[in-house]
């Protein structure tokens, strides 16, 4: 088993039960198109929140709102118990130092090789080059991609790019990870590899995370599997068990239609929800 033991920046100091992410009546519209309406939910420390919903429902917008890449028209977003609306630009950049984000299309810097992509944050912080290299190798081992360290993004497959993106997001052990459709556009086998990495990250570091997916299969794999350190792979939780830290948020037509546990989701009586998950 390979574990990430990279030194971590000072973690955000919060009371244990304080939500890491909290949306309060958040709405946003583009021209006349109301994308999100009165979104309210919170994500507690160590929780993995899977965001489901049909394409175009505003899941990626929600993710960008959570990282301060967009600001809502109304409502309040609290990250680490601080309102984004009350933060200065400098404070938002400081907040992002505690957040890792995996983009839908990986968003790797195409003029930088894998090492420089993964080390980007450390290079910006002027970390010693030797230490940076060691940390990059370590985190690439975590995503099982250490052999690609010298390659450029154009030389990588979609799945490899996604793994580099995950490595870049976790290199400084963030307190919150935002996965924007990490399995989107990938074949089922590669998707499973990525889901395994997410499970591994969840179970090894217990980092709070938000994950968007269109694939219900991936969502339920996350809820029903755990990382097995002995084999180095994920395995189904015995006795049809469910991971307690994994919860769901389902969006439909810009609104939250479900916010709860896996068990509550599968036993929901809501007709639309039943049809959606069937």
């Amino acid at each position: 088993m390979t574990s990430v033991t990279t030194p971590k920046r000072t973690p955000v100091d919060l009371e244990h039960d304080t939500p890491i992410v909290e949306f309060r009546n958040v709405s946003i519209a583009f021209d006349d198109n109301k994308v999100l309406q009165n979104i309210t939910f919170c994500v507690k420390r160590g929780e993995t929140r899977i965001i489901l919903g049909p394409a175009g429902v505003g899941k990626s917008v929600l993710m960008k709102l959570a990282n301060g890449l967009m600001l809502p028209d109304s409502g309040e977003i609290l990250i680490f118990a601080k309102s984004l609306g009350h933060m200065t630009e400098a404070e938002i950049y400081e907040m992002r130092a505690h957040v890792g984000m995996v983009f839908q299309e990986s968003a790797l810097f195409d003029s930088l090789d894998v090492e420089d992509n993964v080390a980007y944050r450390l290079n910006e912080e002027h970390v010693d080059p030797t230490e940076t290299h060691d940390r990059v190798v370590e985190v690439l081992q975590f995503v099982e991609l250490e052999k690609a360290i010298d390659k450029f993004p154009s030389e990588l497959s979609g799945g490899m790019r996604r793994r580099v993106s995950i490595a870049r997001a976790i290199i400084n052990k963030p307190d919150l990870i935002l996965y924007d459709s990490p399995t989107g556009g990938l074949d089922p086998i590669t998707s499973t590899t990525i889901v395994e990495l997410v499970v591994k990250q969840r179970d090894v570091t217990h980092t709070t995370s938000l994950l968007i997916t269109h694939r219900l299969q991936d969502a339920f794999t996350l809820a029903t599997h755990r990382y097995d350190p002995a084999t180095g792979h994920m395995a189904k939780i015995p006795d049809n068990g469910i991971d307690d830290s994994t919860k769901f948020l389902v969006l439909h037509e810009g609104k939250v239609v479900f916010d709860g546990t896996t068990d509550e989701l599968v036993h929901s009586e809501d007709p639309w929800l039943r049809e959606y998950i069937s």
Partner: protein, 259 residues
């Protein structure tokens, strides 16, 4: 059916000017505060300055050559062919050097900036940069402004020199004029105000090229087609603004120096 709405067009235009002004203002403010990306500035200086050298040298040189040929034909009618050097030097230093260099660098670099930053925008690399805690204006725009303004200043001087040299070559080799007379009249005709005016223009042009190129790059929408559109718009708008800026600076210089 959607009709053209003058109101919507006016709102869009005002919003664009506001957005451009905010971007430029923040990029300039970054020069005086916070983190500086020295390596990016040097890289851009190399790309914009050294990379543009061949086209600037060739354009300046042949403009000087043509100017000497054309000037000699007209001046001959008045028996003033000996004033060719004066005409070439004044035209190059005051107008053609700064404007042509600006337009050449605009064609090469405003397009390059718009397409590079535009590609980063549509592939979410700008968002990724922000998500990784880097201000893209500080990292991408500010170094390009510093590099373009600095390098365009020196490129204009090189262009002026090459133009004058081209004019001298044509005058001596083709028109059989005296070389020392050419340079003497050229040197004597140039006054302090001409030099200042000719060197203020590239500072403004450099700022226009970098900010317009970056603005269109940062506001690119619509995938690869959007990148192409941003590139074209960046070149067109920066070229027009360079000519407009040239007119305004010339007016200002005439007001200050009287010529």
């Amino acid at each position: 059916m959607n009709f053209f709405s003058p109101e919507a067009y006016a709102k869009r235009t005002v919003a664009s000017v506001q957005e451009y002004s905010l971007l430029s203002g923040r990029a300039v403010a970054n020069i005086f505060s916070g983190k500086r990306y020295a390596a990016d500035i040097w890289t851009q200086m190399d790309s914009i300055g050294v990379g543009s050298l061949p086209i600037v040298v060739l354009t300046g040189f042949f403009t000087g050559c043509v100017l000497a040929l054309q000037a000699a034909v007209s001046l001959k009618e008045f028996g003033a062919v000996g004033m060719t050097g004066r005409l070439v030097a004044l035209s190059m230093v005051k107008e053609l050097g700064p404007v042509l260099t600006g337009l050449m660098v605009s064609g090469r670099n405003a397009s390059g900036m718009a397409s590079e930053i535009g590609s980063m925008k549509v592939s979410e690399q700008i968002d990724a940069m922000r998500a990784l805690g880097t201000d893209p204006i500080r990292k991408l725009v500010t170094p390009r402004i510093i590099a373009t303004v600095t390098m365009l200043f020196f490129l204009t001087i090189i262009s002026d020199a090459c133009g004058t040299a081209g004019g001298a070559l044509v005058s001596v080799v083709l028109l059989r004029l005296n070389g020392s007379t050419f340079f003497h009249t050229a040197y004597m005709s140039l006054q302090h105000g001409d030099i200042v005016g000719g060197l203020v223009k590239p500072l403004l042009s450099g700022f226009i090229i970098a900010t317009i190129g970056c603005y269109y790059g940062m506001t690119t929408k619509g995938g690869t087609q959007g990148v192409g559109r941003a590139t074209t718009q960046a070149v067109v708008v920066s070229s027009v603004l360079i000519i407009l800026g040239d007119f305004l600076v010339t007016q200002l210089m005439i007001g200050i120096f009287g010529r």
